[in-house]
């Protein structure tokens, strides 16, 4: 299997005057089409790691390779282009743009990519919204939806460009156990049908135990890396 993602000797130090190192010499690779989880205590460095994987943040040292391209050497424009084409995000806290509806939020990454809004793409966005169970609130403003509904909208949004990789930070953090199960089924279905690679940060053992690989981060280091 091809590695779609590779991290080599990643260190991350926050701050310039008072330095805190939060990641230590992380080496990881992810196979194309794999379904992975990252677990670990609060503050262990999971989100930091995911942001570096997603090129939203730069490592202090080390290399990130996406589809064999070293992103450290890329211009910001090129980086933005590769990110838009390759990666879908579901963030831990920051879900949606409040002044837009669910549907408009879902279409956003497509527009950013420079796509024209056609009937087809709207239909596709609606299909994804329906897939995450939001048929009846798709025209609500983001602020007029529950936390869990916003989160599911964010998942539909991550799917719209059909990225090769989806990075999800606590995608079921606010959800009850039935909705959590539904979201898992949804992500797994996309993984199986489209072959999307998933890296999911989760505190939920019900999710982690169903992924094919569990990576545990402890104090900025990989403590455990196991495959089913």
């Amino acid at each position: 299997m091809n590695n779609i993602l590779e991290l080599k000797n990643i260190d991350k130090i926050y701050g310039t005057d008072i330095k805190t190192q939060v990641l230590y010499d992380i080496n990881l690779s992810f196979e194309q089409g794999s379904f992975n989880s990252i677990i670990g205590q609060s503050g262990s460095g999971k989100s930091t790691l995911l942001n570096i994987i997603g090129t939203l943040d730069k490592p202090t040292s080390g290399e990130v390779l996406i589809d064999n391209n070293n992103v450290g050497n890329m211009s910001n424009n090129k980086l933005a282009a590769i990110r838009n084409r390759m990666i879908g995000f579901v963030f831990q806290f920051h879900y949606l743009l409040p002044e837009f509806t669910a549907l408009e939020n879902v279409l956003m990454p497509y527009e950013i990519k420079g796509g024209k809004i056609t009937k087809e793409i709207v239909k596709k966005a609606e299909e994804y919204l329906s897939l995450v169970g939001l048929d009846n609130v798709k025209n609500n403003l983001a602020t007029k939806m529950s936390g869990g509904q916003q989160q599911r909208t964010a998942i539909a949004r991550a799917l719209i460009n059909e990225p090769k990789i989806i990075l999800a930070d606590e995608p079921t953090g606010n959800l009850d156990s039935d909705s959590t199960e539904n979201i898992y089924e949804l992500l797994r279905k996309i993984n199986q049908e489209i072959g999307t690679t998933f890296i999911i940060i989760t505190h939920d053992r019900k999710i982690a135990e169903k992924t094919d690989r569990i990576i545990e981060i402890k104090d900025g280091r990989i403590n455990l890396d196991i495959r089913k």
Binding site: I39, R205, A208, E209, I214, E216, N223, L224, D225, I226, K228
Partner: protein, 217 residues
């Protein structure tokens, strides 16, 4: 042996607890099967090779019913376990405790392995499923076992298993041996190293070998 297995499995498919139990106990009584063979060749595969062919929605239900029948049989076997131990008469070893980590509920494999430890000459203590982390540690301080055997079925529980093993090795001031087993380890016999265990065990032979190592220490 194949005949016995097939007949037993038919009874399990029918979920006929009464006949299944009678069938096995009669075989033991008439010395038509050895207790170790029963565990290794009949009960373990019956537990592991369960296929869910009918309604998928009943899989877990059926797995539980089947497990419960096998559990009844295992508990009925204890006199034969003791008999086997006396017959083989291996030298007396220390204490072995057998348990499952927190949130691990598949414990029948662990229960059967406890009998293997007994037969191998250990004072074997079966603690059971879902053993809380702190009890685990405190019990080790009090009992001071030579061996701790941890059974893990769900691979997520390897996370807590690694943590527990690390802590046990840090606090215990004597050479304790950690054995792991169960479905989480079965597909890769090197996996036990990842959690920091000393041995991986699946069969009675494995336990016997570990017991042999212990004596050599």
């Amino acid at each position: 042996m194949n005949n016995i297995y097939e007949k037993f499995n038919l009874l399990l498919v029918e979920e006929n607890k009464e006949e299944a139990t009678k069938f096995i106990l009669e075989l033991l009584q008439n010395k038509e099967i050895d207790i170790l063979e029963l565990y290794m060749d009949i009960l373990t595969p019956s537990l592991n090779l369960m296929q869910c062919m009918e309604d998928k929605r009943l899989c877990i239900w059926k797995e539980h019913v089947r497990t419960a029948i096998i559990r009844t049989i295992v508990e009925c076997c204890f006199p034969y376990v003791l008999k086997k131990r006396d017959e083989l008469n291996y030298s007396k070893k220390g204490t072995a405790i057998v348990l499952c980590p927190p949130e691990e509920y598949h414990d029948l494999g662990a229960r059967m392995v406890t009998d293997f430890f007994t037969i191998s000459g250990y004072h074997a203590i079966y603690v059971g499923s879902n053993t809380p982390y702190s009890d685990f540690r405190n019990a080790i301080d009090i009992i001071k076992p030579n061996i701790v055997a941890i059974s893990v079925s769900n691979y997520y529980n390897m996370v807590v298993t690694k943590k527990v093993i690390k802590e046990i090795k840090e606090v215990v001031g004597y050479p304790i041996k950690i054995v792991v087993g169960g479905n989480a380890f079965n597909n890769d016999t090197e996996k036990y190293k990842i959690v920091g265990a000393d041995y991986y065990a699946k069969t009675y032979e494995d336990i016997k070998n570990i017991a042999g190592d212990e004596v050599a220490l």
